[in-house]
C-alpha cells in the first residue's frame, strides 16, 4: 500500500573537481526541533526499539543495489560511510581518516581509518573500500545511486592497507559529499562476495547494529554490534549502542502508524503526517524530530521544453496565479515553513528569494494577457489560438503525501480563477515515471535528495535532460541554458570556496528568476517518537536518524 511518503529519492553526484576544502562555514544543524542534550537521566542499556516505517519495504537491504531513501533509513543503522556530517552539519571524515586531492584534481587519495572491523570479523582497509567501489560500479549490482555518485572514478588502487588512490576521469568536487551518503556506505568485502540475494538479505557493515534477520513483508531485525568501535569520538558516548535491538517494521498506513505509536506498539514512526504532528504536539508523551533532507527543496518544476511553459511570461504568471502560502499554512499546521529556494534549507549554499513568489492574481492576469492568453472559453479558462491554457500535472500517490495532494488541488482551484486549467493525474509510481519519460507533463513535483549544492547541476544542467535507458532524467524543468551550464561547470570545479558559493548563488538566481521552479518547502522528513526514548536526534548526512546514542527508559 503506497499512500505513504517518498520511497524513491534519487541522488546523482555531479561532475567536476574541488579539493577537500569542503569545511563549510555557516552550517544549519541537521536536527532541529528536538535537542539531544536535554534528555535527563542516566542512560539505560537494553531494550528493543520498534521502528515503524511508512515507506514501502526495501527490495534489498544493501543500499548499493538500486539505492533509495528507505534503504538509506535502515542501512544507516548497520552501515557507515567514509565521511559524514556532524551535529552542526559540518562534513567530517568517519571511516576515512582524511583525504587529499592532487592539484589537477584528478587524483584523490583517501586514508582509511585503522582498527575497525566489520561485524563478520573482516578488517576495514583500503582494499575493502576498493571492493565496495568496484561493487557499486559493477552493472551486475544494478546500483543506480551509488553508481552515479562514483561515476567520475576512472581507476582505483589500494596503495597500502590504509591508502586508497582514486584516479578520476574529470575533477569532482562533490566526491566527499558523495562519500557521506549511505548509498556509498562501506560493506564487508567478504560479505560482498556472496550472491546478491544473500547480500541483500543481510549486508555486513561496521555500524552500531547488525542485521540479524529479515522477515520479508514484515520486519527487519537488527541487533547490537557488541564489538562496535566508534570511529570518531562524539559528545554523547563511546562503546556500544545502548539498545539491544531494533525491530524495523513497515506500516504503510499513516493513520495506523500513528495509532501504533499512541498505543505504544512502536517507539518511532517516520513519514509523520502534518495532522499527526500537530496532534502529537498536544500529547506530552510523543516527541517530534524534524530532519529536512539535504539537496533540493520540495518544489514544483515547470516543463519549459514545450508550450505553454516555453514562454517565461506564462511560467511567471502561473507562479503568481497560485497561492502556495495560504495552502501550506492550513494544510501543514506550521510543520513546513514555505521555501523560496531551489535548495533545501539545510544546504549551506541555499539561496532564497521570497520576493519572486508572491500570490498576485492581477499580475498573473496582466502577464497572461501580454503573452496572448487574453481570451476565455465557456468554462472561464484562457485560450490562445484555439488551445486552452491547460497544464498537465502527473502526481505520484506514493511520493506526494495527502497534504501535498490537497495543496495541489488548492493550487488547481486558485489557478482556475486566473483562467489556468490544471489537470491533476494521480498515478502509481510506475505510471508516473512513464509520463515523465513521455514528456507528458507541464508541472511535476519530484523530490531529490543529495548532499551538497552540486544537486543543482543534476537538476538544471542540459546534460540532465538526456534520459537514462529507462527514460528517466533529472532536469524536469528541462532548462537548456549554455550560460547556466557554464556556471554549473565552474561552480563544480573552482577551488575557491567563496567563488563556489557565489557561482552557485548565481545559478540559483538564474533558476528562480527564470521561473523554472516553484519552491514549496523542504523535503519533509518528520519523525515522531515516544518520550520513553531518550537521546533521539542524531542523523546522517542525508538526515536519516541513527540510534547509537538512543536509550529506552523503563
Amino acid at each position: 500500500m503506497t499512500l505513504a511518503h517518498p520511497l524513491a529519492n534519487r541522488l546523482v553526484p555531479a561532475a567536476t573537481v574541488l579539493a577537500a576544502a569542503l569545511v563549510l562555514a555557516s552550517c544549519s544543524p541537521a536536527a532541529t526541533s528536538s535537542d539531544t542534550s536535554t534528555d535527563a537521566g542516566t542512560p539505560v542499556t537494553g531494550g528493543t526499539l520498534v521502528y515503524a516505517s511508512g515507506d514501502a519495504e526495501p527490495t534489498c537491504l544493501d543500499p548499493h543495489v538500486g539505492g533509495n531513501y528507505p534503504q538509506a533509513l535502515v542501512a544507516s543503522q548497520y552501515l557507515e560511510t567514509l565521511y559524514t556530517k556532524d551535529a552542526d552539519g559540518k562534513l567530517i571524515p568517519w571511516l576515512a581518516e582524511d583525504s587529499t586531492v592532487s592539484d589537477d584534481g584528478l587524483t584523490r587519495t583517501v586514508k582509511i581509518r585503522d582498527g575497525i572491523k566489520f561485524t563478520d570479523g573482516t578488517a576495514l582497509d583500503a582494499a575493502a573500500v576498493k571492493t565496495n567501489f568496484e561493487h557499486l560500479l559493477n552493472p551486475e549490482t544494478a546500483s543506480s545511486t551509488g553508481y552515479l555518485a562514483l561515476g567520475k572514478i576512472d581507476s582505483m588502487d589500494a596503495v597500502d592497507a590504509t591508502t586508497l588512490e582514486l584516479k578520476l576521469k574529470t575533477p569532482d568536487n562533490s566526491l566527499l559529499e558523495s562519500f557521506s551518503m549511505p548509498w556509498v556506505a562501506i560493506e564487508s568485502p567478504t560479505a560482498l562476495k556472496r550472491t546478491q540475494a544473500e547480500n541483500c538479505a543481510s549486508p555486513v557493515g561496521t555500524g552500531p547494529f547488525k542485521v540479524e534477520s529479515w522477515k520479508k513483508q514484515d520486519s527487519v531485525n537488527l541487533v547490537r554490534n557488541a564489538d562496535y568501535v566508534l570511529p570518531v569520538s562524539t559528545a554523547a558516548h563511546a562503546g556500544t549502542a545502548y539498545l539491544d535491538a531494533i525491530t524495523w517494521r513497515f506500516i504503510p498506513e499513516a493513520a495506523t502508524r500513528y495509532a501504533a505509536l499512541q498505543a505504544g506498539e512502536v517507539q518511532v514512526i517516520d513519514n509523520a503526517q502534518p495532522d499527526a504532528i500537530a496532534a502529537a504536539g498536544k500529547v506530552s508523551t510523543i516527541k517530534h524530530l524534524d530532519a529536512p533532507r539535504p539537496g533540493a527543496s520540495n518544489r514544483i518544476e515547470l516543463n519549459s521544453s514545450k508550450a505553454p511553459f516555453n514562454d517565461a511570461k506564462v511560467r511567471e504568471a502561473f507562479i503568481h496565479a497560485v497561492n502556495v502560502k495560504a495552502s501550506i499554512d492550513s494544510l501543514f499546521f506550521g510543520t513546513a515553513p514555505q521555501s523560496f529556494s531551489a535548495l533545501s534549507s539545510v544546504e549551506p549554499l541555499a539561496y532564497s528569494e521570497e520576493s519572486l513568489f508572491g500570490y498576485d492574481a492581477a499580475k498573473a492576469g496582466k502577464l497572461l494577457d501580454a503573452a496572448g492568453w487574453s481570451n476565455r472559453d465557456s468554462e472561464g479558462y484562457r485560450v490562445k489560438d484555439g488551445t486552452r491554457l491547460s497544464l498537465t500535472f502527473p502526481v505520484s500517490t506514493s511520493q506526494s503525501i495527502p497534504a501535498e495532494q490537497s495543496l495541489f488541488e488548492q493550487m488547481q482551484a486558485t489557478a482556475k480563477e486566473s483562467g489556468i486549467e490544471i489537470k491533476i493525474n494521480l498515478l502509481d509510481l510506475s505510471s508516473w515515471y512513464g509520463d515523465l519519460a513521455k514528456n507528458d507533463y507541464d508541472l511535476v513535483s519530484a523530490p531529490y535528495t543529495k548532499v551538497g549544492p552540486s544537486v543543482l547541476s543534476v537538476l538544471f544542467s542540459s546534460a540532465s535532460t538526456i534520459p537514462a535507458p529507462s527514460g528517466y532524467f533529472a532536469n524536469h524543468s528541462q532548462v537548456k541554458d549554455p550560460a547556466l551550464d557554464a556556471l554549473l561547470e565552474t561552480a563544480g570545479s573552482t577551488k575557491d570556496e567563496a567563488e563556489r558559493k557565489d557561482l552557485y548563488t548565481q545559478v540559483q538566481k538564474k533558476v528562480l528568476e527564470g521561473y523554472y521552479v516553484l519552491p514549496l518547502y523542504d523535503q519533509q522528513n518528520h519523525f515522531l517518537y515516544s518520550d520513553k526514548l531518550k537521546n533521539v536526534g542524531a542523523t546522517t548526512a542525508v538526515a536519516t536518524p541513527t540510534f547509537f546514542d538512543t536509550w529506552l527508559a523503563n
Binding site: C60, G66, A142, Y147, Q217, E253, L429, G434, S470, Y472
Partner: protein, 325 residues
C-alpha cells in the same frame, strides 16, 4: 428431473460417478489455472513499463543499459514471446513460479510465508460472518416483524459498508479512542479482532440476507408444519429443520465469499499493516512484479477451484436432492 429419479441416480452413481466427478473437477481446475496463467502472462505484458526495470529496483531506476541487458538475459525477457510463454507454462507445470522481481526470492517461498496469515484472516472472517449471519437470521425469525426488519436493516447496511472505511473507523474507535485493541494486526487474538471484524461484517450482511430468506421459507414450509404438528417446539423447528436449509445458500456462496475475502484482504492487510497475500498482491501489481502477481493469482484461482469443489461436496452432503455429481 424428478427427485425420485435423482435419488435413484445417486444410489447408482456411487463409486464410478464420484471418480468421474473428481476427474471432471480436476480437468476443470487445471483448465482454470492454465487460463489464469495465460491471462496474467499476456495481461501484465500489455502494461506499460519495462519488466527489467521492475527487476532493477523498480520504476524510474537509472539502471545502466548493461544492467538492464543483464537483467533481461537473467530472467529470459530477451527471448521471443512465445518462447517465454511456453517456458513459463512449463515452469509453472513443474511447480516453479520463478523469482519475485521485487523481493528477489522464489515466489513459492513468498507464498509459503504469506498464505498462513491470510488464511487465518480469511477463515476466521468467514466463520465469524457465518455466525453473525445465522444469529441474525435466527433472531429475526424468532422475534417476529420488528426483529426481522431490524435484522434485515442491519444486514443491508453492513453489506453496504466499504472495507477501508470500516477499518479506519474501527481503528479510530477501538485503538485510538479506547485503546482496547492494537491497530497493527498480529496473529495474536487481540491483533486479529479488528481485521477479522472488518472483513466479516460486509460478508455477514450478504450471507445473512440469503440465509434469512431461505430460513423464513423453511419456517413457512409444510415440513415445518408437520414438525410442529408432531409437537416440535419453535426452537426445535429452527434447529432441526430451518437452520439446515438456511445453511445451503451459505455453502453455495462460499466460493464467491472467498473471492470477496481476498479482495477485502488487499485493503484490510494494508490498513492493519498485516503481511499477507492481499497486501503483496497490491505492491506486486504496482511494482509490476510479474512472477509474484502470477503466483498470487494462480494461488487464489487454485483455492477458488478447491473451495468450489468442497462446497459442491458439502452441498451434496447436506442436500440429497441435488443430483449425483
Amino acid at each position: 428431473m424428478s427427485a425420485s429419479a435423482a435419488a435413484t441416480n445417486r444410489s447408482h452413481g456411487s463409486f464410478g460417478a464420484s471418480v468421474r466427478w473428481l476427474l471432471r473437477k480436476l480437468g476443470g481446475g487445471i483448465f482454470v489455472l492454465w487460463a489464469v496463467a495465460t491471462a496474467i502472462f499476456f495481461g501484465i505484458r500489455m502494461i506499460p513499463g519495462d519488466p527489467a526495470e521492475a527487476i532493477l529496483g523498480g520504476p524510474g531506476s537509472q539502471a545502466s543499459p548493461e544492467a538492464l541487458a543483464a537483467a533481461r538475459a537473467q530472467y529470459g525477457l530477451d527471448l521471443p514471446l512465445h518462447v517465454q510463454y511456453f517456458g513459463q507454462l512449463w515452469r509453472l507445470a513443474t511447480g516453479n513460479m520463478g523469482t519475485s522481481y521485487s523481493l528477489k526470492i522464489p515466489v513459492t517461498d513468498v507464498l509459503r510465508e504469506l498464505v498462513p496469515s491470510t488464511l487465518i484472516l480469511a477463515v476466521l472472517a468467514l466463520l465469524l460472518a457465518w455466525a453473525m449471519a445465522l444469529v441474525l437470521a435466527v433472531l429475526s425469525t424468532r422475534s417476529g416483524g420488528l426483529g426481522t426488519a431490524l435484522a434485515s436493516g442491519l444486514e443491508i447496511v453492513s453489506a453496504a459498508v466499504p472495507h477501508f472505511w470500516l477499518a479506519s473507523v474501527l481503528i479510530m474507535v477501538f485503538s485510538t479512542a479506547l485503546g482496547w485493541l492494537p491497530p497493527v494486526s498480529t496473529n495474536t487474538p487481540a491483533g486479529l479482532v479488528l481485521p477479522v471484524i472488518t472483513l466479516a461484517l460486509p460478508l455477514a450482511g450478504f450471507l445473512g440476507q440469503v440465509m434469512r430468506d431461505t430460513m423464513e421459507e423453511a419456517q413457512r414450509s409444510a415440513f415445518a408444519l408437520s414438525a410442529r404438528a408432531r409437537g416440535e417446539s419453535e426452537t426445535g423447528v429452527l434447529l432441526r429443520h430451518s437452520l439446515r436449509h438456511a445453511a445451503l445458500p451459505g455453502i453455495a456462496l462460499s466460493g464467491w465469499a472467498l473471492g470477496s475475502l481476498l479482495s477485502g484482504a488487499v485493503v484490510v492487510e494494508s490498513i492493519f499493516a498485516r503481511p499477507g497475500l492481499g497486501r503483496s498482491l497490491l505492491s506486486a501489481v504496482t511494482t509490476r512484479d510479474i512472477p509474484l502477481v502470477t503466483g498470487v493469482a494462480l494461488l487464489s484461482a487454485a483455492s477458488y477451484v478447491v473451495i468450489m469443489a468442497l462446497s459442491d461436496i458439502a452441498e451434496r452432503l447436506v442436500d440429497p436432492r441435488i443430483s449425483a455429481p
